[in-house]
């Protein structure tokens, strides 16, 4: 297998982009990533795009072909384009497919993109589409919502470990603060613990400020074999590990309701592949679709002891300048969560940080970064590790 590098990145603005279509934003991200890498279109061997639910959100399937067409990769170049779907982990999984295409030697220059256009439908319709990431027949049909499923994780975490609503709120407060430093973030306003606790209850104990928003956005990466990466850029960022794991689709069937075993296993595989430990990682983008999800993620990835995620967050250990900065982009909570794009956006943030280009939210001297992307309530987890030096 060959080593793989990222040579170009681009995020669109994340937010309620009512004036723009899916094809508009994904072309902006793709063209921006190519420009960043200093390449045209002829070198591209294949394209992978993460998209969860084009069928529900914009009544459009065959997203791979659509994107290739509007990116100018179809009519003359006939570049193969593949849509990847694993609910909210679609983007992370698209990146993983792209890495495997380059590592195997089948392809050299590959685009990994992710995009979702969620605001063309009413929020009820969007929520229903998102609930399809859970088990529709045995969770959804009983009246379960996505916030409701994560609320049951939160309830048991609080019962078992003493985690508090204030500690959950600290996740949102931190991520809004980070988002305020990120030009593409959906929310740049800072909030307080009281703001979270006084916001409306969606699924007890989760308030609406414990939940990530509905977002439009697209992200793209350009990958190349590490051996030729310097031909394109002075600052290639290297893939040290790509790992993925599955668990039961329904939360109720899991070994433990407060642990995402798919995250634990994917992380273990990633650390083993990279020959690194949690202490070696300088920053991480985790899947904070809800505040409790970030608490579980930092525990399951090895950055906090099980049950201590809330305390570690409240102590500021996951803030910029802390022991292990988490979600410098603002995370899903503040940067926004266009579901198919999220996993790719996380990688764009880590690459930007490892290049030293993250401006006010820069983690000085960062050598190793990690991304953690989850589908549903933990049926899919994708973990990547990146490094500045090869």
């Amino acid at each position: 297998m060959r080593d793989v590098a990222i040579i170009g990145v681009k995020n669109t603005k994340f937010g309620e982009l009512w004036g723009r279509s899916l094809r508009d934003i994904v072309v902006e991200a793709g063209a921006g990533a190519l420009e960043d890498a200093g390449i045209g279109g002829k070198e591209i061997d294949s394209l992978y795009v993460g998209n969860m639910s084009g069928g529900r959100f914009i009544d459009q399937e065959h997203i791979g072909a659509l994107i290739a067409d509007y990116s100018g990769l179809s009519k003359n170049l006939h570049v193969p384009a593949t849509r990847v779907e694993a609910a909210c982990a679609s983007g992370g999984l698209a990146l993983r497919q792209a890495i495997m295409a380059v590592a195997s030697g089948y392809n050299d220059i590959v685009i990994a993109a992710g995009a979702e256009k969620m605001t063309d439908v009413e929020s009820e319709e969007a929520s229903s589409a998102l609930a399809a990431a859970a088990d529709r027949e045995w969770e959804g049909m009983t009246g379960a919502t996505f916030p409701g499923i994560y609320a049951m994780i939160a309830r048991l975490h609080m019962h078992r470990y003493g985690t508090t609503s204030e500690q959950l709120a600290e996740v949102a407060v931190k991520n809004h603060k980070n988002g305020s430093l990120n030009p593409i973030a959906q929310y740049k306003n800072r909030i307080t613990v009281d703001d979270v606790l006084n916001s409306i209850m969606v699924a007890d104990p989760l308030h609406i400020f414990d939940c990530s928003p509905i977002t439009d956005g697209a992200s793209a990466l350009v990958l190349a074999p590490a051996d030729i990466a310097h031909k394109y850029t002075d600052t290639p960022i290297y893939i040290r590990a790509t790992a993925q794991a599955s668990d039961t689709i329904a939360l109720h069937d899991r070994r433990d309701i407060t642990t995402l075993d798919a995250t634990v296993v994917a992380a273990k595989r990633a650390y083993s592949m990279a020959k690194l430990r949690p202490e070696d990682i300088d920053l991480v983008e985790v899947h904070d679709c809800f505040t409790i999800a970030e608490i579980c993620a930092i525990e399951d990835l090895g950055f906090a002891e099980k049950g201590k995620g809330g305390i570690v967050t409240a102590n500021g250990e996951t803030a910029i300048g802390g022991r292990i900065p988490v979600n410098t982009s603002g995370g899903l909570k503040a940067c926004g969560h266009p579901v198919g794009a999220t996993g790719v956006k996380q990688a764009v943030e880590i690459v930007t940080q490892l290049r030293g280009d993250a401006g006010k939210r820069q983690i000085e001297g960062a050598e190793y970064g990690m991304t953690h992307n989850v589908g549903g309530s933990g049926a899919t987890a994708v973990v990547h590790i990146f490094s500045r030096e090869r």
Partner: protein, 132 residues
């Protein structure tokens, strides 16, 4: 919900807590599985009707309803562990102030929802406190 065949084909399980059991390893499955996750190819699945008693593992009170459940809001949703072992997601009826982790519950037959006025009415299993 809005799909009659999709609901209808699992009516036995939804109305009567009918699941399955693997004769090979003895594990019970609800929701039913027709392929044992432990034994896989060498498993032998048979029908099994659950007693309907169990305890609450975790719960939430939903204030922003799922589509089709708006008129029931707020409602209590829980993960329940049946006494035979498997866990499921279901609504729990009763005073939301009194619900707690570890609470004993039993299954009851109730209306789950309907497809608008004059549409199909869905029935199935909910849970109540065991002593109710």
């Amino acid at each position: 919900m809005s799909s009659v065949p999709r609901f209808w084909r699992s009516i036995g399980s939804r109305y009567n807590l009918e699941g399955t059991r693997c004769k090979e390893c003895g594990e019970h499955f609800y929701p039913p599985r027709n392929f044992c996750v432990n034994c896989r190819r060498v498993g032998h699945i048979e029908p099994y009707k659950f007693k309907g008693t169990g305890k609450i593992i975790s719960y939430t009170i939903i204030h922003t309803a799922a589509e089709g459940f708006e008129d029931q809001t707020p409602y209590t949703l829980a993960i329940i562990q049946l006494d035979e072992g498997p866990r499921l997601t279901s609504q729990v009826i009763g005073d939301p102030e009194k619900i707690h982790i570890g609470m004993r519950v039993r299954s009851v037959f109730r209306k789950l929802g309907e497809d608008g006025e004059g549409g199909m009415i869905y029935y199935g299993t909910k849970f109540v406190p065991e002593d109710a």
